[in-house]
């Protein structure tokens, strides 16, 4: 390691105090430093690449899988033999392009991605703002618990919970019945899926927004007030632009997770509100058409990448370094 000289110089500076005077964590670091001395200094430059190796391996695996998918997507399924064709063709893409069901599903996924993102940002912003600004530690703790608790409850469990609550004999319809209303068909509708997705994504959005809002100094908000800006104007002209990296990051996470979601449409949509991921599942595991499944997977990947690219362009690369358009 390059700072080995400085370290050993410090080590020579005086008699060593008793080891027990230092906490365990320091001694563990001492041991690691001693172990690092064994590494030949000439190879020091390789260390940073070694650290990247696990991540690079995972990304490589992903790209390899995409390559396999791309290959399969170009081979039409022969339903007499249930084998993919030997020669490449665009038949799978043509099939998807010509299918009304595909277009309906793709539109449903995209509309959900946009709607869930918009609703989540609108709801998460005040929540995260209250959490970062409150002076009452009790309230802050409560909001933090409210933020993290949903992460302990899986998506499928929550979807089933909604089935129980929203069914024909569910608690919501019972309450409505007591008031002389309903029963209504609340489940297996597109808006129900959107609702479930919003409920699922909201903590993600709030979690991404909180640090961005905490980074806006309160003094700046006061400055805006002293400039004559009411609170809504301060929010619009100062807080939101300054928290933009966080808003973009939250939008990125929520929109791509929604676009590619599988469980919510499968459970709360009841088969009538499928997203593209459900369509891919059907191709692979119901009709066993790996070619068409791969083609739809690639289209979904392309859509997700496009959404991410649009959002990052909107950020003006602001999310990367905090320095936006110049």
């Amino acid at each position: 390691m390059s700072d080995a000289d400085g370290r050993s110089a410090r080590g020579r500076a005086g008699p060593r105090p008793p080891l027990a005077a230092y906490p365990l964590g320091w001694r563990v670091l001492d041991a690691l430093e001693a172990a690092a001395e064994l590494w030949p200094r000439r190879w020091g430059g390789a260390v940073k690449w070694l650290m990247l190796l696990p991540a690079l391996a995972l990304v490589g695996l992903l790209l390899w899988g995409l390559g396999v998918m791309a290959d399969a997507s170009l081979r039409a399924m022969d339903f007499r033999t249930y084998r993919l064709a030997e020669e490449w063709s665009a038949a799978n893409f043509a099939k998807a392009w010509g299918s009304a069901a595909f277009w309906a599903t793709a539109r449903r996924s995209l509309v959900a991605a946009v709607a869930v993102t918009a609703i989540c940002l609108a709801l998460a912003l005040p929540y995260a703002y209250a959490m970062t600004r409150t002076r009452r530690p009790g309230l802050r703790r409560l909001l933090l618990i409210g933020l993290f608790l949903p992460f302990f409850i899986g998506q499928v469990v929550r979807a089933y919970g909604w089935l129980i609550l929203l069914g024909q004999q569910g608690m919501v319809n019972q309450a409505l019945g007591a008031a002389g209303l309903g029963p209504y068909r609340l489940l297996f509708e597109y808006p129900t899926v959107i609702f479930g997705l919003v409920q699922y994504m909201l903590p993600f959005a709030a979690l991404m927004l909180a640090p961005a809002l905490a980074a806006v100094p309160e003094e700046v908000e006061r400055a805006a007030a002293s400039c004559g800006a009411s609170w809504p104007r301060t929010l619009w002209h100062v807080v939101i632009p300054m928290a933009r990296p966080g808003l973009i990051a939250a939008a990125l996470v929520v929109s791509t997770l929604t676009l590619t979601d599988f469980a919510m449409p499968a459970i709360m949509g009841g088969g009538g509100s499928d997203f593209l991921a459900n369509l891919v599942y059907d191709q692979f595991f119901r009709t066993s058409d790996a070619g068409l499944g791969s083609a739809i997977t690639l289209i979904l990947t392309f859509l997700g990448t496009t959404v991410a690219a649009v959002l990052l362009t909107m950020a003006g690369i602001a999310a990367q370094g905090g320095r936006g358009r110049r």
């Binding site: 003094e219 400055a223 400039c227 009411s230 002209h237 300054m242 936006g324």
Partner: protein, 379 residues
């Protein structure tokens, strides 16, 4: 300011506070603060951190509400007026510029928020950028400007909408000494040019003296003195005020007639200050002496211009370029310590550590304070 044109409005003070108090949990940040600031004046609130000076400023800006008391700005009660509806410009401690806007947009922001005619805004922004000497830098973002330039943007932003009142929350504290002195004069120039009533908060006594028409000294949430800078310097009404304004030596003793201070059997003549309660003979008292008012002479003599002298031993002589600071021990006064400054070292004999000298002062420079109530005394 336009308000001054109205003859009947002329004697309404810009700021009138009566018994303002504010508490945070157990801490009483502000206790019954009462003062007035006349229109067009430059007031500095001087005090150490935690003295309540920033709380006072936040109450005037409207960021916080007082628990008790009455605050009027230009004759109007402002208790119910939110900050964005008060005509108050403010320069913040950490400047609080909007980082996502250019300097010109920062300056234009108050005009846009206050719905000025959009056609007038560019010219006005230019004028104020010129006022703070930032011509041509309007298109830069705050992070592309130097510390002093950011300071100037913050000043322009606080003044551009012609506020009736300008508040400065220690905006100079983070600058280096040279830039700070430059900006002090700059604030003074702009304030005189625009005639805007200004309240500045600082813990820097030099800044308070240089910039202000009126100074309020605060400590522990209380106002100790409210006076012009010269009065504050010559007639501190409280030993804390004297200490905060650079008095280096406090001698402990018992008050005597004359007035004088008895220390270890020596009777040292002094004077009381206007505004401070006179020490009662026979009660504990302290005498305050500025280092630069102490004259040193050969041991056993009365140094020129002195009314009293004590025997002193030089413990340290610190050469500071234009002056020499002497740390002295007073064996005749029970080992008390005294600081003396020789501001003209070339003209007088130098003393070395260990030398025995006579330390003298004029009676008018030895300020006597009652010490039977020890609160607020500097150690």
């Amino acid at each position: 300011m336009p308000a001054a044109a109205h003859p009947a409005a002329a004697d309404i003070p810009a700021v009138e506070a009566r018994g303002l108090a504010r508490r945070y949990g157990d801490a009483q940040a502000l206790r019954a603060a009462s003062f007035t600031v006349a229109k067009g004046r430059f007031l500095t609130v001087l005090g150490p951190s935690g003295s309540g000076k920033s709380t006072l400023l936040r109450l005037i800006a409207g960021f916080e509400r007082a628990d008790a008391g009455d605050l009027r700005l230009f004759g109007r009660p402002v208790e119910a007026v939110p900050p964005h509806r008060r005509s108050v410009g403010m320069v913040f401690q950490r400047l609080a510029l909007f980082p996502h806007m250019t300097a010109a947009d920062n300056v234009a922001f108050p005009l846009r928020m206050r719905r000025w005619d959009a056609r007038d805004i560019p010219a006005r922004v230019e004028r104020f950028l010129a006022l703070v000497r930032l011509e041509g830098l309007g298109r830069r973002r705050p992070d592309e400007l130097s510390g002093g330039q950011q300071q100037r943007v913050a000043i322009a932003r606080a003044l551009v909408f012609e506020p009736q009142l300008l508040l400065l929350d220690e905006p100079l504290a983070s600058l280096d000494a040279k830039l700070r002195e430059e900006m002090q004069l700059e604030f003074r120039r702009i304030q005189r040019e625009l005639g805007v009533t200004t309240i500045n908060v600082t813990h820097d006594q030099r800044e308070a003296l240089v910039m202000s028409d009126q100074v309020i000294v605060m400590e522990g949430g209380r106002i100790l003195q409210d006076a012009a800078p010269e009065t504050l310097w010559r007639e501190p009404a409280h030993p804390f005020v004297a200490g905060f304004l650079g008095v280096g030596t406090f001698l402990e003793g018992v008050a005597a007639d004359g007035p004088a201070l008895d220390v270890a059997g020596r009777r040292l003549p002094g004077r009381t200050t206007a505004g401070a309660p006179a020490p009662r003979p026979g009660h504990p008292a302290q005498g305050a002496l500025r280092a630069e008012r102490v004259t040193l002479g050969p041991a056993g003599t009365l140094p020129p211009g002195s009314d009293a002298a004590v025997e002193a031993v030089v413990e340290d002589a610190i050469f500071e370029g234009d002056r020499i600071l002497y740390e002295l021990r007073l064996p005749g006064l029970g080992g008390a310590r005294l600081r003396a400054i020789d501001a003209d070292p070339g003209a007088r004999a130098r003393h070395a550590p260990g030398d025995r000298v006579a330390a003298g002062w004029a009676r008018g420079d030895f300020l006597l304070f009652d010490a039977s109530d020890r609160t607020g005394r500097l150690p």
